[in-house]
Amino acid sequence: MAWQTIYSQLLQERVVHTRLAAGLEVFVMPRPGFHKRYAVLSTRYGSIDNRFRRPGAAEVTEVPDGIAHFLEHQLFEDPEGHVFNGFAALGASVNAYTSHIMTSYLFSTTDNFTQALDRLLDFVQQPHFTPEGVKKEIGIIEQEIRMYQDQPRHRLGMNLLEALYHVHPVRIDIAGTVESIRRIDPETLYTCYDTFYHPSNMALFVVGDVDPDAVLAQVEADVGARGYQPRPPVERLYPEEPPGVARIRVEAVLPVARPLYALGFKDSGTPAGGLERLRREVTMSLVLSAALGRSSQLFQELYDADLVDDRFGARYTSGGSFAHTIIGGETRDPDALHARLTEGLERLREQGLAEEDLRRVQRQAVGEFVQLFNSLEFIANGFLYYHFLGGSLFDYLDQLRSVTLDEANRVLREQLDPAQAAVSIVRPA
């Protein structure tokens, strides 16, 4: 296998990568001097992938909400004991998480890296789903779901996504519901596993003080011995999401100290992947910093009017088949905040951002991006996230620095369109 190299001049870092015969993509970023070695194995399979056509099949498979997350939990079952113990014996720390678009299994260790990597490859490639295991997991995940239900911010965010989207599965909680997870059985788990955990749908990222050739030799031997056959891509079936929002406003009453407010804008114009998607994400993050960051006029106005505190924030998320902006925080008066905020954003759409403001937040974003490279976790998880969306983390800086004022103002006008907006509010009981 020959390595290809991606080098970042500014970061003075390199990532080498290759693709194995079975289709698995392998990335390694050497970071000499770090004690920790970190590996993450991810599949392009998230909570939104609940309707699909298996390769070669004519019929559509539909699975219960929350199953990707449930499967993630269940891969930790091992006939010889719990996976956590195997890593603990190596002094390694293992974990996993499920997002809308991907599921990731990771470990971090300062010793026994080779054995830990073997264990990671083993447990992710050897499912062990049983009725007893599923029954136990239903109890645990029910408590996880109830924990989220007691988090007002979680409710605020879920209510907003349900308002923004008519049918797209991003509006469904990643963990599913207490009812939907009760419909999960071992057979359905095996169907999902077989569909989405083929190496051609997966990628591995390793970062730390490691030798890329040794990592590659180990992974190639492991995956090569498992006899995978080539596989065409899975066909994911997302429903056609109509333009406009499902509901303009959603309110809930919960035992909170102060009201919570979130304003969302659905982005119907986002490209599904590649450099264009990355560029829109980068541009929107700059727009939101310039429009609503601590140095913006609008933030200062809202802060002085005692409508926001410094935990007020704005964020753009795009996952290929969906994209949106969420702005919000705690407030004494959600209605007053809504009026001032939407008025301020409309003013910005008319007048546009100033050149100086864009340049300043560009400098800020460049420096903050460099700072993030202290974190091996950020590097590995960030890299695979952008890779799965058809871009590269290393393109981020170039894209960031080349955004023009016209472009920023065009995206601002498109994305922060009141016709695509919904509001979610949580009020104290």
């Binding site: 003075q12 719990h82 601590r294």
Partner: protein
């Protein structure tokens, strides 16, 4: 490649700690003013960093400050209070990107120190004291911050447990002050208290990054010379009161989906003690890891919870246990937790539990060497406890801990308070 602090005495009770390293992409600067956490002053002390963060003479508004920091390639600036044992510490943090990774060389390390000097020595004032508006807003923001903990049930349960268990002890005080007293903070009183804090607190200034210690010391003398009076060295923690250890149960009702159980234990061991490494092992075996007794027995075997873990506060010598459970599983969960604590005291600790915990602790400590924040945090805890434990030394100590050592620590552990946050019984209104 060991990262080590070189201490440089700047003035009376004022030490500069420089860890010169090229490992990170940042320079991290943290200045800490250490105080006793005491009922008569803690509210005023808590407000100080938040008012300092509002502005300086030269950059009098949040917006001015944010613009300045954004132009320094997104320099991070935070001001907060921390509570370690019964000390309350004002912490000011500035983090800048390493010049080498930026498009231009601005000398950001020196600028970070100069900025801190402005914040501490030339805050925005009016009529010779802090600006009235800033004091009122920040005191109110802190009040809201304290009250909004109710939005996060596990944190809320922990806070309530602390209040109940440590009523009358400094450790029971909230680090952000008293909600009622916050209403009464005046600009005059606060400014006067600040002058006292500045002159009498031990000051530790940490710098981790690509710097040269003598050069940093010169910058500090130029930009950060502080007034020095009679230094008041804080006491890390008062002894547990005589007779403490009587078990107490506190139940509170809220409309929640999930009950939160929080247990507080007093230990006979603290950070400076010879048995501290054994206390680390004790907490790790009980509930610090996914291989620990609590996780395995409460979550994996009984399927009762999504989270079940223990936390150690070694400066005061306190272990807490938290678990999110169904309300009707209270007795069962409590029974299982008690059984785990009893098992440790009885020496019922497998070889595997002992060794896996040892490895897990060492992995955690070594991983901490990869994070500027954790390098600084570890040293600060040592200074507060007047017993610095360098990581290599502590690792050696942990390697030597025996089962007998853990049992000896376990024998000194006493359950003090059980706190349960639950939903009202069905049928009752």
């Amino acid at each position: 490649m060991q990262i080590q602090f070189e201490p440089i005495a700047i003035d009376r009770g004022y030490t500069l700690w420089v860890a010169a390293t090229e490992k990170f992409k940042t320079t991290t600067v943290k200045l800490v003013l250490r105080r006793n956490l005491r009922a008569d002053s803690y509210t005023y002390t808590a407000v100080i960093p938040f008012v300092l963060r509002r502005g300086t003479e030269a950059l009098p508004t949040v917006r001015d400050m944010a613009r300045y920091l954004e132009n320094l390639y997104g320099a991070g600036f935070n001001a907060d209070v921390s509570k370690v044992g019964e000390t309350q510490n004002i912490e000011l943090l500035v983090e800048v990107a390493h010049d080498r990774f930026l498009p231009e060389q601005l000398g950001l390390s020196e600028k970070a120190l100069a900025f801190l000097g402005e914040v501490l020595l030339r805050p925005a004032t009016e009529d010779g004291v802090f600006r009235r508006e800033y004091v009122a807003q920040e005191a109110e923001n802190l009040r809201r911050r304290i009250l909004s903990v109710i939005n996060q049930k596990p944190q809320y349960a922990m806070k309530r447990l602390r209040e109940e268990m440590f009523a009358g002890e400094p450790f029971g005080l909230e680090k952000y002050g008293d909600v009622e007293e916050l209403r009464r903070v005046t600009p005059d009183g606060l400014y006067e208290h600040y002058q006292h804090v500045l002159a009498t607190s031990p000051v530790d200034l940490f710098v981790v990054g690509p710097v040269e210690p003598a050069q940093v010391a010169a910058w500090v003398r130029q930009h950060l010379t502080l007034p020095r009076g009679d230094i008041e060295t804080p006491v890390a923690a008062t002894p547990h009161p005589e007779g403490a250890g009587e078990e107490r149960v506190v139940t509170e009702e809220q409309q929640v989906q999930q009950g939160v159980l929080a247990l507080g234990y007093r230990t006979a061991t603290r950070y400076p003690d010879a048995d501290y490494p054994a206390l680390l092992m004790y907490n790790g075996i009980l509930g610090g890891f996914p291989h620990s007794k609590l996780f395995i027995n409460v979550r994996e075997k009984a399927s009762l919870a999504y989270f079940a873990s223990s936390q150690l506060e070694a400066t005061k010598g306190v272990v807490t246990v938290t678990a999110g459970i169904a309300v009707d599983k209270y007795e069962r969960a409590l029974g299982i937790i008690r059984d785990q604590v009893d098992a440790l005291a009885a020496g019922d600790i497998s070889e595997e539990e002992l060794e896996n915990t040892r490895k897990g602790l060492i992995n955690g400590m070594l991983s901490g060497r990869d994070s500027p924040g954790r390098i600084i945090g570890g040293r600060l805890v040592g200074l507060i406890n007047n017993r610095v434990r360098p990581v290599p030394e502590l690792i050696d100590d942990v390697k030597r801990v025996t089962r007998e050592d853990v049992v000896r620590v376990a024998e000194g552990v006493r359950l003090d308070t059980v706190y349960f946050l639950r939903a009202p019984a069905a049928g009752g209104q």
